[in-house]
């Protein structure tokens, strides 16, 4: 790529290493592990908050730990 178009390319887009689609327990774990291994991550969730269904649960089996 020419210098000009290369500059355009980097300005045109935000760059990330990995897109994680979904911010439930699985998406959060994936994003954390990726970020801790040196990758820039974009997490996208369709709801107004991350947390997914696990945030709706009261406690989890079999330890009865608080879910949130």
């Amino acid at each position: 790529m020419e210098r000009q178009s290369l500059l355009w390319f980097f300005r045109r887009y935000q760059h990330y290493d990995v897109l994680v689609a979904g911010g439930g327990i699985s998406g959060v774990q994936a994003a954390l592990d990726l970020a801790n291994a040196g990758f820039k991550v974009l997490m996208v969730d369709r709801r107004p908050s991350i947390g997914g269904h696990m945030a709706q649960l009261d406690k989890t089996f079999p330890t009865l730990d608080c879910s949130i």
């Binding site: 979904g22 998406g27 774990q29 709706q56 989890t60 089996f61």
Partner: protein, 959 residues
């Protein structure tokens, strides 16, 4: 980005363009502080979706009380202003001008190298089948509704009430398999895998809330197939007033007066019963996420026949498009541990693909050099937080600020709505710099969650991060005394004073850096160990793979097909080949671990293999030591050659043995060696493996009669279809109770001593006799015999059944409590090949979070020894669970030596020490005692006491 949809992905692995659609919140994210002032004033009430519409919310609200990000959004469907141009109260009331009615959907494009799909599931909506009565009868609720009802942030603030009259229900029924395991319209054929156990949890919670409650669970097999589930089931079943009934009940209707729900069912004894319940909970299954068809086509991935993500048959975390990985329930209905390890696994896969660009886009945070503060006159800043309304509504924050300014050495005090916000932490950093603060007090919430935030901001301000103390005026004050404003205010004042005293005595501490050795040790050369080794080697790390047998392959050497019919031996050969060919993997076979020592990033293990002892240095350890098949002692096994285990039978099938091809009658007995007194767990895989073998036998020998004797059929997830297929092909299923085990016997007198199985058939209600050619025992999975030794060598625990025990059964399924050591595969618990592979990826993903770094930084809060006071008793070393204290010979006798990188600052040694010689930095006795002393002091004495403390502290240090 929350509240954002993915509209499409173009491109290929390494270079995708993602089109995103940010939905309008009508609230400016950077301005909203989450104070909820607007919510209080909004006149429109709407059903609260997060609370399953069991309670009301406002048209402008925060999704739920602990939402991240904690900011409001407006539901345009209900907002009067957005609909009719009226109202707009929220915009007037908002102090930060965060409301923006003009927002429109925004499209954005980003570039990424890989994609992880963690789209989850949707709970089944039981209203699609009117016969459940959901939505029609007030007291029929779904299990998701029940979750919200028991939750303290739920519609009834955590009290279990029923919707019709808000009274405490006493008699509650759960109906299992709602929307699952059914082949009619509107239901799913698969088993949702989690409902049995979440129902048991709900029963236990119900009994905790109301010990007198009567609970009935209507089920059709209890599927307690994961770690700890069998015991959990027993615990639930043994509670007084709890009944488990094997029946499919019908919802007849409700009592017009009491609104109780009437259920009709046939008991296992064949009696038709009608019973009414105060509340009926439908245990709903898991569906693929809604609208996934459209999303899948935009993403260019395929879905399976059930609507979940189609994956590589051996490798669950790979979707059908290269560079797209998948984790969690979007693979198949699954529980939280699977969601966690598949996530780490997907991360590992991304690492293999994008290793070349690791650390290229991320920028490590730079901190300014630290100012020397020890000799300075104390200059303290006090930052008091409103925490939205949490603190500010109960006590007057401005007055607390005023009072703080009167305290000795306080040169600055300030309030903010949220000090933890980005603007708040930046402000603290600036004040530290501008005013030359050398101690900081943050009067806000709990240090457990927020101390790291404030440590970071003062570090950015140029002083040591340990020079901040938090006064918890929320949890310890306004939350517990919300109605006693004045007293709470006095208490908050005292808490700040105490915090100041401690802050003045805090000392700068040094962070310890641990270099990371980039090599890995993988113990166990089965499928899990090899998968893990390849993952790490592909990411550039040298791996030592240690196997005790002569050849790699482990248990998989005896398996020929997966349940889905894939060729295991071919897969295994290819995997072994790739391991041997990889230049970074060293394989040691017939190897034995002699000893191992060290800690995170710096382990040393001695391994003996082929007469040589290797001393291996490595940064992480992964235990993938597998498990073994139970060797039955029951059912004439070993006494009659016609009785074989499932694995032996699989071999006969693979070899097309005459015994199999000519057999007329074959009996398969489940739960051999599992779910017993000695081994009180379910071996998870036997039901599925039996289905696989039965179907294979039907294929090779269609006329053979097959009888499966079982207790509960546990073909969870999509495996349910194999069960159905076997039944359709005429396999006979006979259920037995553990008290009435089947009997396998040789018939005396008959030719060739014919083999016979006797079992009591619960449907017929009588004993049946089957003359058989072969008996196949579904022998369970038992822990490997050397687990005990390995557990002692690596100092990692075993669970009560002898499998390795992970750090947390739900949230840390592949970690050990000891940092730097991981586990995967059957060493953890019995599992299918694909599950073991996914978990192996998970372990490598977790290991990569360490190996990808040059060094780990460990906390400065560690213990230290005052040798003068120490009498060398060694109690501290004994009590330390991290092995961080060694007793060393010195001139003055044995004295403890602390290894700071291993110390977690837990303080156990501190409380054990008889002379107070060993203490924890940052929590030294004088720092804590100072808090108590100033609490007792009058305002006049305060300065003197504090000065005395500072002087003493300096004096002690000088000495």
């Amino acid at each position: 980005m929350s509240y954002t949809e993915i509209e499409g992905i173009e491109g290929e692995e390494g270079n995708f363009t993602v089109r995103l659609l940010r939905k309008p919140r009508y609230v400016l994210e950077h301005r909203c502080t989450g104070c909820r002032n607007c919510v209080d004033h909004c006149p429109v009430e709407i059903p609260d979706v997060f609370n399953q519409k069991l309670s009301k919310e406002k048209a402008i609200h925060i999704y739920f009380s602990q939402a991240i990000p904690l900011i409001c959004y407006i539901d345009p469907e209900y907002c009067l202003y957005l609909k009719e141009g009226k109202c707009g109260i929220c915009a007037d009331i908002c102090r930060n001008s965060a409301i923006d009615f003009g927002q429109v959907p925004q499209r954005e494009e980003v570039k990424v190298g890989a994609v992880v799909l963690s789209m989850g599931f949707d709970p089944y909506d039981p209203s699609v089948r009117p016969e459940w009565g959901y939505g029609r009868l007030a007291n029929v609720i779904s299990s998701m509704d029940f979750e919200r009802i028991t939750s303290s942030t739920g519609p009834y603030s955590g009290e279990i009430l029923r919707p019709s009259d808000l009274k405490h229900p006493h008699k509650v029924a759960w109906i299992q398999c709602v929307g699952s395991r059914q082949v009619y319209e509107g239901s799913k054929s698969y088993c949702s895998a989690v409902c049995c156990t979440y129902t048991q949890k709900q029963v236990i919670l119900m009994k905790i809330h109301n010990p007198e409650a009567e609970c009935v669970v209507f089920h059709n097999d209890i599927r307690a197939f994961s770690k700890g589930f069998e015991r959990f089931f027993e615990r639930t079943e043994s509670l007084p007033g709890v009944r488990f009934i094997r029946a499919y009940p019908q919802v007849v209707g409700e009592d017009p007066v009491s609104k109780n729900v009437i259920l009709r069912y046939v008991t296992p004894e064949g009696k038709l019963v009608e019973e009414d319940f105060d509340l009926v909970v439908l245990s709903v299954g898991l569906l693929p996420p809604s609208g996934i068809d459209k999303v899948a086509s935009e993403l260019g991935i395929e879905l399976n026949e059930y609507g979940f993500c189609k994956t590589n048959p051996f490798d669950f975390v790979e979707a059908t498009k290269p560079g797209v990985f998948v984790s969690g329930s979007f693979i198949a209905p699954s529980d939280i541990p699977e969601a966690v390890y598949t996530a780490s696994g997907a991360a590992s896969k991304c690492g293999r693909l994008l290793g070349y660009r690791r650390n290229k886009l991320t920028v490590p945070k730079q901190y300014p050099p630290e100012r020397e503060v020890v000799e300075e006159e104390p200059r303290v800043g006090v930052f008091v937080c409103h925490c939205g309304a949490n603190i500010g509504k109960v006590v007057s924050v401005p007055s607390l600020v005023e009072e703080a300014l009167k305290l000795p050495y306080v040169v600055h005090a300030e309030e903010d709505l949220f000090w933890c916000s980005t603007s708040g932490t930046k402000r603290i950093m600036e004040v530290v710099k501008e005013k030359g603060l050398n101690r900081v007090v943050v009067a806000a919430c709990t240090p457990k969650t927020h101390e790291p935030t404030f440590m970071d901001s003062i570090r950015m301000g140029g002083i040591n991060m340990y020079l901040v103390d938090m006064a918890n005026i929320r949890e310890h004050c306004t939350w517990v005394h919300p109605l006693e404003g004045e007293a709470a205010y006095e208490k908050a004042k005292e808490l700040i004073k105490m915090s100041l005293a401690r802050a003045l005595l805090l000392e700068p501490l040094e962070l310890y850096e641990i270099p990371i050795d980039k090599r890995a040790l993988v113990v166990g050369g089965g499928i899990s160990g090899m998968t893990c080794a390849l993952d790490l080697a592909e990411q550039g790390h040298e791996v030592w793979l240690v196997e005790k047998e002569r050849e790699l392959g482990g248990m998989a050497r005896r398996i020929y097909w997966t349940l889905e019919g894939e060729d295991v031996q071919g897969f295994l050969r290819d995997l072994i080949d790739r391991v041997y060919r990889h230049p970074l993997i060293h394989v040691l076979t017939e190897a034995k671990i002699i000893e191992t020592s060290g800690y995170l990033g710096n382990f040393v293990t001695k391994v003996q293999s082929g007469g040589t002892v290797y001393e291996i240095k490595h940064g992480v350890t992964i235990l993938a030591t597998g498990a073994v098949e139970y060797r039955p002692t029951e059912y004439l096994y070993g006494k009659d050659p016609r009785v074989v285990t499932a694995l032996e039978f699989e071999e006969l099938l693979a070899k097309r043995d005459q015994k199999v091809l000519e057999a007329e009658n074959v009996v398969m007995i489940q739960c051999v060696g599992s779910r017993s007194k000695e081994r009180n767990y379910c071996s998870r895989i036997c039901c599925g493996e039996t289905m696989k073998n039965a179907l294979k036998l039907k294929e090779l020998n269609p006329n053979c009669n097959i009888y499966v004797l079982y207790r509960d059929m546990r073909t969870y997830g999509f495996k349910e279809d194999l069960y159905r297929k076997a039944a359709d092909l005429g396999v006979v299923f006979i259920r037995f109770e553990p008290e009435q085990q089947p009997v396998v016997e040789q018939v005396q007198g008959a030719a060739e001593r014919a083999l016979r199985v006797r079992v009591r058939d619960h449907v017929l209600g009588e004993e049946v006799e089957i003359g058989v050619d072969l008996v196949v025992l579904a022998a369970g999975v038992v822990p490997a015999p050397d687990n005990q030794e390995l557990s002692e060598q690596f100092k990692v625990p075993l669970d009560e059944d002898g499998f390795f025990k992970e750090a947390h059964v739900k949230l840390r399924p592949v970690d050990f409590g000891t940092e730097g050591i991981f586990l995967c595969g059957m060493a953890h618990y019995p599992k299918y090949i694909q599950e073991a592979i996914a978990q192996a990826h998970g372990a490598s993903g977790r290991a990569m979070t360490i190996l990808s770094k040059e060094k780990e930084v460990s906390s400065g809060i560690v213990c230290f020894v005052d040798e003068g006071r120490c009498m060398g008793c060694g109690a501290c070393a004994e009590v330390c669970t991290y092995g961080a204290i060694l007793m060393e010979e010195t001139k003055r006798g044995k004295k403890p030596k602390v290894i700071p990188v291993l110390c977690k600052g837990c303080g156990l040694c501190n409380s054990e020490c008889p002379t107070g010689a060993i203490q924890v930095k940052h929590f030294k006795d004088e720092q804590i005692l100072a808090e108590i002393d100033v609490l007792m002091a009058s305002d006049e004495e305060l300065k003197d006491i504090i000065d005395k403390k500072i002087k003493q502290n300096k004096g002690a240090k000088a000495a």
